[in-house]
Structure formats: structure tokens, C-alpha cells
Subunit: 81 residues, 2 copies
């Protein structure tokens, strides 16, 4: 369990770090969702930019069987479509 | 606070109900994320179908200022793209 608690702590730190980076374009708010019951951790960008409504999963990590799974990684994408 | 607790309970019930509906196509798992700290509640479909990788926000609800905000609603969409 100590291993899992450590994983949860590390994941939350990573997502919190990413959440500090508010996109410079549009009016976009980073939202952090941490669910230690289902062990899913997600960072969303939501708001508006010149393309319209933004609702984009930046990063989704999940702990399954004492391993961290990257369910979705949009951190390398330059712009929100 | 009783009002907020009631909202959280209702939202969780709605998402749990939707999460019971596993798509009939592909290998898709509904994932529920409830974060009562940031008051964000999200249902994701993740997995694979014939179009490839599926990572789709079915429903995203958030409580802000004692109101429930529908941040994203994909429940009316017939197929996962």
C-alpha cells in the first residue's frame, strides 16, 4: 500500500505541475480531477479560444495492478484544436 | 452544505447509471472519475473499436457556486468516433 500511496502522490504532483501552465491563447482553465477510489487522475483544459469551445484531455493516468498506465497523453500537442 | 452533498450524490448516481451501459461495439470500458475536492465529475469511455483507440468524455459535470454546470455532454452521440 505504501507503494500505491507513493504513486498517487507522484501522479498528483505531476498533474498539479502541468495544471499551473494556463494556455496563453483564449480563456482556458486547466481542471484537475483526482479519484483515489477508481485510481484515475486526469487533467483537462476547458474554456474557449478562437476555434470555439475547448474541452481537451491533457493527461489521463490510471493505476491498475500496481502499475501506472498512461491512458491519454496530449502534453506534446502544440495547440488545442 | 446539505445542498451540495445532495448535488454530489445525485451527480454520482447519474454517472453510475450511465457507466453501466458498456458500448456494444469494440472493447470499451466506461470509467468514472469523481473528485469531490474540485467538484468535477466525469464519465469516460476508453478502449478500442474498429476506428482505433477510444478515449471519449461521455459526460462532465461540475459544481460551481452551488450550481451544476454541464461542461461536456456526449450522451446523445450515437457512435464513438
Amino acid at each position: 500500500m505504501a507503494k500505491l500511496e507513493n504513486y498517487r502522490k507522484i501522479i498528483t504532483q505531476i498533474l498539479e505541475k502541468h495544471a499551473q501552465h494556463k494556455p496563453s491563447h483564449g480563456e482556458i482553465e486547466p481542471l484537475l480531477l483526482c479519484d483515489p477510489i477508481t485510481d484515475n487522475y486526469l487533467l483537462l483544459d476547458t474554456g474557449w479560444d478562437k476555434t470555439g469551445r475547448v474541452h481537451y484531455v491533457v493527461l489521463h493516468l490510471r493505476i491498475v495492478g500496481e502499475k501506472i498506465w498512461i491512458k491519454s497523453d496530449g502534453t506534446e500537442r502544440g495547440i488545442a484544436l
